[in-house]
């Protein structure tokens, strides 16, 4: 018979009730780290628990081939919240950009190429021959960036109040004070399809093609459907913040942002506990009371922030009986159909000439013809692997010497749109691998012959690594659905002291941390008022 007081390892945590904690943050991904750092920095005794053995969620370093480290998850920073960088002092904690405002080269099916300067406001630098096209692009970018800047508060932070005020009043104030021209523009853009807007603005087929690709990239909303133009505004809202640039590469890859967030959390005295899965969220009356761990122990706390996917947080840890019917409906009816794949490819040899090296310092995008893009969405939605996909590629070592390999180089690729599978089989993986490699071959002829190893990572792989529900990392739906989902997950539980900043709280794809910040700020306001 085992004596419960023996104190052996197995029983050490089991059934132990731990008190004296102000806040528990569940989920050790970027948003969980950011949220816990904010709480710790404000003086709350905060425990961050992650289910997996590593910190970082889907963004993690991994050996993709013997002796070669890759980074899973995001390969570029596009929408990282500048307020998070400043307030958590991430530069001091190690974030350093190896390259910002990356220039982009767009490749087309015809073999033609357009070069786009990283600074979107300087569209004149594009190598367009026709002055009227250049002027049209300049005017368009002006409109779009201004509108994206105006909508930035709407894109950031799910449904929680912004710092220092009531979100509803704040937002209404901003929007109601919009000058008439901006009001008309938002109204026009809100419902519009990307195709309609771009066709009305540009005669140049290539400009339309590249902007359609940008609008559709990583979104489940096809460019011919309503709200799809808003996806482009969302993508450019990071640029509109004026700090991150359209795309930036941090030294050491995106995992360095996770490391910096971890350091920020540790500096704020957050107790970071990996391999500590949570079984349920404790609710007493209409208030949160802490969490029950998988080993039976409890962490008692009046604040719980869930930085995990909504399915786990609401259905598994809180229980359907405690959540709003609207949220339940949203959670149970969601059926993701589209996803993005990540591929890291190790190529034999290194660039010999300066021109190639310079090209490798750019973001390379293959933009399929609009007809092929439409078909790709139709195929992916029907569960078929498309014939052509948008490819975004970059070479980490070209931007960051620290990533250089001996006589080899890594090409990092994101491909979209692809069908979403909860459990893809080998045949499906091979079909996806082939279409990605075929699409790259269009702009890098002969490239397949230089492949040493390729490492394909699908949404289901990322979810498994982050111990998340498979659908959590499928492509995001149109912005209207995302706004509704973000509002539902942040306000749907109505449990005092509970806050949510999982992937569903974020509008658009990419590493942002804005929802982690918003959840922490909301928790702190309640804490200061004594409500939590």
């Amino acid at each position: 018979m085992t004596n419960p007081l023996d104190g052996n390892d197995e029983n050490k945590g089991g059934h132990r009730i731990e008190g004296g904690i102000d806040a528990v943050v569940i989920g050790a991904g970027a948003d969980g780290l950011a949220a816990s750092a904010y709480l710790g920095k404000a003086g709350l005794r905060t425990v961050l628990v992650g289910a997996g053995p590593e910190i970082g969620g889907r963004i993690a370093a991994r050996e993709i081939a013997p002796g070669v480290q890759g980074v899973d998850g995001e390969h570029l920073i596009t929408i990282l919240d500048p307020d998070v960088i400043a307030e958590l002092d991430l530069y001091r904690h190690g974030v350093e950009f190896a390259a910002r405002r990356l220039d982009t080269t767009y490749f087309f099916e015809s073999g033609e190429v357009l070069r786009f300067d990283g600074d979107l406001t300087q569209a004149a630098l594009l190598n367009l021959e026709d002055d009227s096209d250049r002027e049209a692009l300049e005017a368009f970018m002006g409109d779009v960036l201004e509108t994206a800047a105006f909508l930035r508060p709407v894109f950031a932070g799910g449904g929680y109040a912004g710092p220092g005020g009531n979100h509803q009043r704040q937002l209404e104030k901003v929007v109601n004070q919009a000058p008439p021209e901006m009001a008309a523009r938002v109204q026009r853009y809100l419902y519009a399809t990307a195709e309609d807007v771009l066709r009305a603005r540009f005669d140049d087929e290539q400009l339309r093609t590249l902007l359609l690709a940008e609008a559709s990239f990583r979104s489940a909303s096809p460019p011919h459907e309503p709200f799809s133009f808003m996806s482009l505004l969302r993508r450019y809202a990071g640029e509109a913040a004026g700090l991150q640039g359209a795309a930036a590469y941090p030294k050491g890859g995106t995992v360095s942002v996770i490391d910096a967030l971890r350091r920020a959390a540790q500096a704020a005295k957050v107790d970071v506990r990996a391999a500590t899965p949570v079984k349920s969220i404790l609710i007493e009356g209409d208030r949160v009371a802490g969490v029950t761990l998988a080993d039976g122990g409890q962490l008692r706390s009046s604040i719980v922030i869930a930085a995990i996917d909504a399915q786990q947080a609401f259905q598994d840890m809180i229980g359907p009986e405690m959540i709003d019917i609207g949220l339940q409906r949203i959670l149970t009816t969601r059926r993701p159909e589209i996803s993005t794949a990540r591929m890291q490819i190790i190529l034999k040899g290194v660039a010999q000439d300066e021109a190639t090296r310079r090209n490798m310092m750019r973001r390379l995008v293959y933009a399929p013809p609009p007809e092929a893009l439409t078909k790709a969405f139709i195929d992916a939605r029907a569960g078929r692997v498309p014939e052509r996909v948008i490819v975004e590629a970059m070479f980490p070592a070209a931007l960051d010497e620290g990533a250089a390999l001996d006589k080899r180089q890594v090409m990092s690729v994101m491909a979209h749109p692809l069908p979403f599978d909860e459990a893809p089989d080998d045949e499906r993986r091979e079909a996806i691998r082939s279409v990605i490699l075929d699409s790259i071959e269009i702009f890098a002829a002969g490239f397949a012959g230089r492949i040493e190893v390729d490492d394909l990572r699908l949404a289901s792989d990322e979810a498994a690594a982050a111990r998340a529900s498979a659908g959590a990392y499928a492509a995001k739906p149109d912005v209207m659905q995302q706004w509704a989902l973000a509002a539902a997950v942040t306000k749907g539980a109505r449990i005092s002291g509970f806050y949510f900043c999982g992937p569903e709280a974020q509008i658009g794809a990419g590493l942002s941390c804005a929802s982690g910040r918003a959840a922490a700020k909301a928790a702190l306001r309640a804490y200061k008022k004594g409500a939590a």
Binding site: V154, G159, H167, Q168, L171, E172, V174, V175, N176, A178, P180, A183, A184, V186, Q187, R188, L190, Y191, A192, T193, E195, D196, R199, S221, P222, H224, E225, P226, F227, S228, G326, R329, I330, T333, E371, T374, K375, I378, R381, P477, D478, M480, Q481, W483, A484, L485, A487, A488, K491, G492
Partner: protein, 446 residues
């Protein structure tokens, strides 16, 4: 016709005529442009006329009697037809009789569709330029989770919304067909749920003229004439914007100044290469990629309507998946294998069959091209086959077939450079929606 007008209304269908007459009666100066190729034909059923339109146009003075179509019926590939009726009780009873598990939900569904269908918090893209900005509604929408959830349902997919209500696959297929096929929508595309809400609106229930058989179109033309609407059949050749006016030039060198060009239906716009229906454009909610193709089959005696009901509107689909597949085919510029087809019996020995799931242009060998005579023959043949699949022997009854195509014409549109164009997307309640829209634009002008 000379001088300055508030609107040039282009089109001679019922929504165009109603909008022109209502605006003229409200004091606007209206020019109405009829198609030069106008033919006198038996009228198909039109959307109902809302009470406010009836009053605005004083239709009681015009000896007009309208009667509702008897039923909406869907002929699926397998099993008995599915029917719904204007009366909620009649529909519930019919569903119960057919063994549908969802018969008790019908009334709730209609109530909730009506509740969900608010005046849009913002205007759809087609006429945003001319509507007063409604940014406050947008702010309220984003700030209130309840409103946002409702908006997400309204602008979500029809497939999700129907899945939320009904377990009966056949009923879902029936509702998808009648709600979505007239506008060429797909049931899995964002925004398609809104079509369901409009479809449940009593004003969307179609009607036909009865009594002494005075066609609604003829009556509305008379109302236009009485209200001082000026009409023309001339061909416009150019419209250029100068300040707050568009200067429209006709082929006889006559010119007029108009504040707005108004298209009450996407078909009217598409015939002039306007809106997102121009060229091979593919765009919002069935306006863009689609051409509506109609075949009028003149029959010899003896055509027996399905269920013996000559007063119904029929839809042919094999199953629910046909709707999105047809939308996908149209936007890709190809003909659909299992084309959804709508048809009705005109009462004059005619069957009028149409589908909005034809492509506006064809995409072949990496190129877009317009419709040819062969395409029209192929389209007519597909429609004939679809009708024959549900009415055996139908093909042998055909004496003559006339086709009509609402696709962009070859060449540049005379309105291509004109920014003061308002196009109403496909609406189930097209007549009342057109009157509301023209009112809205007039209010913006004031």
């Amino acid at each position: 016709m000379n001088g300055q007008f508030d609107f040039l209304v282009v089109g001679d269908d019922e929504p165009s005529l109603a909008a022109a007459a209502a605006a003229a009666k409200a004091g606007a100066r209206i020019a109405l442009l009829f198609s030069a190729e106008r033919k006198k034909r038996a009228a198909a059923a039109s959307p109902a006329i809302a009470n406010f339109v009836w009053r605005r146009l004083d239709l009681q003075d015009y000896d007009l009697t309208l009667e509702p179509v008897s039923a909406r019926i869907t002929l699926l590939k397998e099993g008995a037809p599915v029917a719904t009726y204007a009366s909620a009780r009649e529909t519930s009873d019919a569903l119960a009789q057919s063994g549908s598990p969802d018969h008790l939900l019908w009334r709730d569904f209609l109530d909730e569709m009506t509740a969900l269908a608010p005046p849009p918090p913002y205007a759809p893209a087609g006429y945003a330029n001319s509507c007063p900005p409604n940014i406050k509604a947008f702010a309220a929408l984003l700030s209130d989770p309840a409103k946002l959830e409702r908006a997400a349902r309204v602008f979500g997919t029809s497939s999700d919304l129907l899945g939320d209500y009904f377990a009966d696959e056949r009923l879902r297929a029936h509702l998808s067909a009648h709600a979505l096929a007239p506008g060429g929508w797909g049931d899995k595309e964002a925004g398609s749920a809104r079509a369901l809400m409009e479809f449940a609106d009593p004003d969307a229930w179609r009607v036909r003229a009865s009594g002494r058989d005075v066609a609604l179109r003829a009556v509305l033309e008379q109302v236009c004439q009485d209200a001082g609407v000026e009409t023309t059949h001339k061909k416009p050749v150019e419209a250029l914007v100068n300040g707050k006016f568009a200067h429209v030039a006709f082929d006889d060198d006559e010119k007029i100044k108009v504040r707005h060009l108004f298209f009450a239906t996407p078909s009217a716009a598409q015939q002039w290469g306007v809106g997102s229906g121009s060229g091979n454009a593919r765009g919002a909610l069935g306006q863009g990629a689609h051409a509506e193709f109609t075949v009028r089959f003149k029959l010899s005696d003896g055509a027996e309507p399905p269920l013996g009901d000559p007063g119904a509107i029929f839809q042919i689909i094999d199953d629910k998946s046909d709707i999105q597949a047809a939308r996908d085919a149209a936007i890709q510029g190809r003909l659909c294998d299992r084309l959804p087809v709508e048809f009705e019996f005109s009462g004059k020995g005619e069957v009028i069959a149409r589908s909005a799931y034809f492509p506006a242009a064809f995409y072949e060998d990496g190129e877009w091209r317009g419709w040819t005579g062969q395409d029209r023959q192929a389209a007519a043949s597909i429609i004939k086959e679809r009708l024959s699949s549900r009415m055996p022997g139908f093909a042998s009854l055909i004496r003559r077939a006339e086709t009509e195509l609402s696709a962009p014409p070859a060449g540049a549109s005379p309105f291509a450079e004109c920014g003061r164009v308002i196009v109403q997307p496909h609406r189930h309640n097209a007549i009342s929606a057109a009157v509301r829209l023209i009112d809205q634009v007039m209010a913006g002008d004031d």
